[in-house]
């Protein structure tokens, strides 16, 4: 079950979400009562300076940490109080894209994409076919049997996107996916991501410093000092 209003499906919905590190006198609150939503079929950007709480927020949404205070619903599932098994189940419905790709070095491009499909697709032949289709969609059908170290940064990130999309996730969390890419590769990656996700009606939450991506977003949230607010930048002059 997902939260819906009249026209849009809310994939992420937070209410007074707080998170702290440390205990006692060393306790430091990083997120101060966040309220925001991310919807299906939209590319949402989360921008903000270093240390603003972006990574903490991503790990909470990705069910990689326990929610301590407030409410966080991801794909209709309340994560506050969720046990490890429930969080693992949620993680299987999310596509993750990391800044440094995090591909498995000992697996080929095709195997990297196949690996994640093991969680959903029991038929090995179907896994190979689906992985090939995804890699063709990201323009890497000629690199199926190459290892990550044999690819350029842009190609690796496209493999990471194919891997994230493999289990047909309802939500994609991407952390600085263009950070290590040149201008054109970064643009290609974001366009590819946006295109694939709109077609699949997935939600994309993209954390970035990259100003060039602002124009590709359906919605932008700015996080600063642990507080998040909607943001409508002047694209000609603004920096996140």
């Amino acid at each position: 079950m997902q939260d819906t209003d009249n026209t849009r499906t809310s994939v992420i919905c937070t209410s007074d979400l707080r998170h702290s590190y440390g205990e006692g006198e060393l306790r430091s609150e990083i997120l101060h009562g966040l309220n925001f939503e991310v919807h299906a079929g939209e590319v949402t950007l989360l921008v903000g300076p270093s240390g603003s709480g972006k990574s903490t927020l991503l790990t909470l949404i990705g069910a990689l940490r326990s929610v301590e205070e407030g409410s966080l619903r991801v794909m209709g599932q309340e994560l506050r109080g969720a046990d490890e098994a429930s969080r693992v189940a949620i993680r299987r419905r999310i596509g993750f894209i990391f800044q440094s790709h995090n591909l498995v070095a000992s697996l080929t491009v095709l195997q990297n994409v196949q690996l994640l499909l093991q969680l959903k697709e029991p038929d090995p032949k179907a896994r190979v076919e689906k992985a090939c289709n995804l890699l063709e969609a990201v323009g890497l059908s000629h690199r199926l049997h190459h290892y990550p170290e044999e690819l350029s940064g842009g190609q690796r990130q496209r493999v990471a996107i194919a891997r994230a999309l493999a289990p047909e996730p309802e939500l994609i969390l991407a952390d600085e996916p263009t950070a290590s890419l040149d201008s054109q590769s970064g643009q290609d990656v974001v366009e590819l991501l946006g295109d694939l996700c709109r077609r699949r009606r997935s939600a994309v939450l993209l954390v970035t410093h990259d100003l060039r991506l602002l124009k590709d977003a359906d919605r932008i949230w700015r996080i600063e000092d642990g507080r998040v607010n909607p943001w409508q930048p002047d694209l000609a002059t603004t920096s996140p």
């Binding site: 498995v104 070095a105 697996l107 195997q111 093991q118 029991p122 090995p124």
Partner: protein, 398 residues
């Protein structure tokens, strides 16, 4: 078939065996690990081989004895050093119901050399009445009549290299004259047989009782023997006669079946002597070396892949999936080390057998033991190394 596929799938061995792919991707590290663990398995094989060689060499002679019961002095601790006892005690057994034959046996070590030779060799001399056919060895039974001539002996071709070209000379010329190394007596090797050397002697000689007494005059006192062999009549109960004889001899003699004699000999070398301790220690050392190598390899491997494992956990793979990868790696390392170690050890056993004359064989029990120890130490090492997995925090990937 689908059940097997499901099982392999659960063990990550179906179409994407990640553990194997990770090992294969780093061939140098894999080779180093296999070499290290394989060396440890080889060390264990060698220790077990030496131990079994010692026990084989000590008991092969007993296994060849054709007797229902055997008498030895309680002071005889092992087959390398027989304490003599009065021959008259043996003949007392002939008065016991069920005893058909009582045969004296002489066992002594003699140092001999070729007539113009300079390097003596130490040989175990076994002497008995040639008509009694004491040793169930085809070559010996076929040549028993030769032994009836004084100073004629048979020579064991399975001795070690210290025996020099004696066997070759007999094969070539038909006989070979030898002399005791104190130059007191000569005798003639007239035939060959196969038994196997021991840790105490380079090879074996078989002679008549008369010849044995003459050649080993320094060790065999008149009227004394090394062993007494008892053969029973048909229908006699071995256990009953043994109990009766033991009661009759009291503490003067031990009355043993062949199996008991062999077990006593093995027990001496395994426990009472220092050999068992040394070989056992060597086996444990091999085990420890293997354990340290596997642990080090796995720990480094897990550390190197920590980020990947954290990523897999973040993407929804359960901890069990990653645990299985590490355990599989350990077993793959164990198996791929064990197989070459077994092949090399088989070759080394053959070489050592040829060089020493002591029979060292690759047997299924050695293979099973070293295989179990190798895989066991791999499992134990993986159990320690997977503690490192707790550092694979999925929250650290962002």
């Amino acid at each position: 078939m689908s059940g097997l596929r499901r099982l392999l799938g659960r063990l990550n061995l179906a179409d994407l065996p990640l553990a194997w792919l990770q090992l294969k991707r780093q061939p140098i590290r894999y080779l180093v690990a296999v070499t290290g663990i394989g060396f440890a398995a080889l060390l264990m094989y060698m220790q077990l081989g030496f131990q079994s060689g010692l026990l084989n060499s000590a008991t092969t002679f007993y296994e060849a004895l054709g007797a229902d019961l055997i008498l030895i002095s309680p002071a005889t601790l092992n087959s390398g050093n027989f304490q003599q006892f009065p021959q008259s005690l043996l003949y007392n057994a002939l008065g016991v119901e069920g005893v058909r034959q009582a045969i004296p046996l002489y066992v002594a070590n003699v140092n001999v050399q070729k007539l113009k030779g300079v390097k003596p060799t130490s040989l175990r001399l076994i002497g008995y009445d040639p008509d009694s056919q004491v040793l169930n060895l085809p070559d010996v039974l076929a040549q028993s009549d030769l032994l009836k001539t004084p100073n004629y002996v048979l020579f064991d071709t399975l001795g070690n290299r210290n025996t020099g070209p004696i066997a070759a000379a007999v094969q070539r010329k038909g006989d070979q004259v030898l002399i005791l190394s104190d130059f007191s007596k000569t005798f003639r090797v007239m035939g060959l047989f196969r038994l196997g050397s021991t840790f105490a002697a380079d090879s074996n000689l078989i002679s008549s009782d008369t010849t044995a007494i003459q050649l080993a005059y320094r060790q065999i006192n008149e009227g004394e023997i090394s062993m007494g062999l008892i053969r029973l009549g048909s229908g006699a109960s071995s256990a009953r006669v043994q109990r009766f004889l033991q009661r009759q001899y009291g503490s003067e003699l031990q009355v043993l079946t062949k199996d008991e004699l062999i077990a006593q000999e093995r027990d001496y070398w395994n426990t009472a002597s220092s050999f068992g301790v040394i070989f056992g220690f060597g086996t444990i050392m091999g085990l420890l070396v293997g354990g340290v190598v596997v642990y080090q390899v796995l720990y480094t491997d897990v550390s190197d892949h920590l980020k990947e494992y954290a990523t897999l956990k973040a993407m929804g793979f359960a901890d069990r999936f990653i645990l299985i990868i590490v355990i599989q790696e350990a077993f793959l390392l164990g198996i791929s080390s064990f197989i070459p170690a077994t092949i090399i050890s088989t070759g080394m056993y053959a070489f050592l057998t040829a060089a020493s004359g002591i029979r060292i064989e690759m047997t299924s029990d050695k293979t099973a033991l070293v295989g179990a120890l190798t895989l066991g130490v791999c499992a134990a090492s993986s159990a320690i190394a997977i503690r490192r997995l707790k550092d694979a925090d999925p929250a650290s990937v962002f």
